[in-house]
Symmetry: C2
Subunit: 347 residues, 2 copies
């Protein structure tokens, strides 16, 4: 079996306004100042496991040039363009049918483009073990669980029957919990964060689509003769919009009887919020995460993100966010950052 990696890179990351905008979403940014964009780091993290020619990036047509710029190792036909956003199930179906046109028997890792992993060695060990597992257990759908380090209410949780370092069956998926529930989950030891990283064989995911999302499977089957040919994009342009807007979690994982997980611990974060960026970025002596040319005075626990070439003085703020990019400024309390999207709409 050949190993493939599908990078889902169609998001617009509106929660990181003004750094991420429609024309420059989060996956193409180096928000943490590591020297690499998220998508580049994701690619390099999988590159020891998957040959460059077996990466498939699914994104929006508007971002195709950015993908190829950040991942110059890829060829044009490795970047699949969704005509519109339709959540993760159609995205993964598209990539799966595309891969099957090239390779009848593949094992596939599916990953978001914009997450952080700090322990890449451990990451690779976990993924290799997982790929070995799904290559042996040809109907297994596997999702990588993350050992929770805090009662995070922003993540979904995976429940298992018993604490274990092995790959074991999933008992349940749990929606984002309230704080009390999250605390219970963390204390219990049988609940992991759902990382959104999936491993499976092409047989397993194809079978799951046919069983749990038969309309979507039928839709992509119509294009079977077109996938992997110059007609693929035309087929997608015509038919993709008819896909149900549904996540792979709701559409497949929660319905499957053959799902597995492993409790991993490789320094993962989805960096889905400025607060999580604060957690993962370096702090100065007053507890601020400062990026760019800024003087802070009487300011603590804040994220200051100033674009190169600009400068800032920030005084008198606690647990706030100050971000300046391309003439767009955001000043807000970190605790209220869930509202950013709404404020941007008002603007």
């Amino acid at each position: 079996m050949e190993r493939y990696c599908v990078i889902m890179a169609g998001g617009i990351g509106s929660r990181f306004w003004p750094l991420s905008k429609d024309n420059m979403p989060k996956q193409f940014l180096d928000i943490l100042g590591t020297g690499k964009s998220f998508i580049r780091a994701t690619f390099e993290r999988f590159l020891p496991l998957v040959p460059a020619s077996n990466f498939i990036v699914v994104t929006n047509a508007a971002y195709k040039h950015l993908v190829l710029e950040h991942l110059p190792e890829l060829t044009d036909d490795q970047v699949l363009c969704e005509p519109m956003r339709r959540n993760t199930a159609p995205c993964i179906a598209y990539a799966t049918w595309h891969i099957l046109a090239r390779c009848p028997e593949a094992s596939i890792a599916v990953t978001p483009a914009d997450h952080l992993v700090t322990n890449e060695c451990e990451f690779q060990r976990v993924i290799v073990n997982g790929l070995d597992f799904v290559e042996t257990n040809r109907n297994a759908l596997m999702t990588i669980g993350i050992r929770p380090s805090r009662p995070e209410t922003g993540y979904g949780y995976i429940e298992v029957d018993r604490e274990s370092a092995d790959i074991i069956p999933v008992k349940n998926f749990k929606e984002k919990p309230d704080l009390e529930t999250a605390k219970r989950f963390v204390a219990d030891g049988r609940y992991f964060w759902n990382s959104g990283i999936f491993l499976w064989s092409s047989d397993a995911i194809m079978g799951a689509f046919r069983t749990y999302l038969p309309d979507m499977a039928a839709l992509f089957d119509q294009g079977k003769a077109d996938f992997g040919t110059p007609r693929e994009q035309e087929f997608i342009s015509t038919h993709f919009e008819r896909c149900e807007n549904i996540s792979i979690d709701y559409g497949v994982m929660e319905r499957s009887q053959s799902r597995f997980t492993v409790c991993a611990d490789f320094g993962w974060s989805d960096i889905g919020t400025w607060g999580s960026l604060y957690t993962h970025a370096a702090h100065d002596e007053t507890g601020n995460a400062v990026s760019g040319h800024a003087v802070t005075v009487d300011t603590t626990g804040s994220v200051i993100n100033i674009e190169p070439g600009c400068q800032a003085i920030v005084q008198g703020l606690d647990n706030c966010l100050v971000a300046l990019r391309d003439g767009s400024l955001l000043v807000c309390r970190l605790a209220d950052e869930q509202q950013i999207k709404h404020w941007v709409e008002r603007l």
Copy 2:
């Protein structure tokens, strides 16, 4: 006697960083969004009283082009350039000696370039009365007092003997008071804010320089043959730096025996601080003074000043200042704005 107006426009307005900077000081800005820069508004305020050809602007050489841009009615020789900043006494001496070379008997109004007046009719009435007074009382040095509307600790005060609507002698000048003293001054009725606007005849101010700042008078007398000729700038370049760095208030007004004031009420502010700008700018329904394209959320009593073409979301601030100009951002508590200068130095 011919009437002259001297506009002192050499300040750098560092308290309004990042709006005002060395290369664009406050007098050339339209901070309040009136459609006119402060210097333009100052000029237009005096124009019904003084012919355009009798305005003299004293500034720094670096700002000469800005003065002529904002006041295209002036000719090159009406803009006097100080080689360095030397406070108001040398500035006024320079303008006085320059005017005397053109006109042996003048009445002169001296004004800062960057103050706000909202009732121009009343202003003109007060100034005309004052000019009439100093043209009749040829040794009078007059300073315009402002009826205090609040116990401002940032201004100097003028004390008189009795409440009066007339032009009356000054009893004392009072330094910036503490809050308790300022409250007493406001309640008393015999204390006015010192506006920094002066009226006098050329005889009176010349005599006062000779009496109270004889070294400075002697220095300018050396250049008598040069003033009003092409050699004037050369003389100033060589000699100006030897002037004592002293204000007209300390150097002349506090020492004079012939000083007068009037309690005026024409909506004056020196707009010396962001706080005073807040006082004078229009407020939205949540008490914020917003200029530029900005959305405010859970924000009250704040000044938001966003440069044209930029945009901002400001949330969770009370009594703060957010100013963005030319890639320079300031976020601070309004109460601490006296420190801006120091923060800019740190930056």
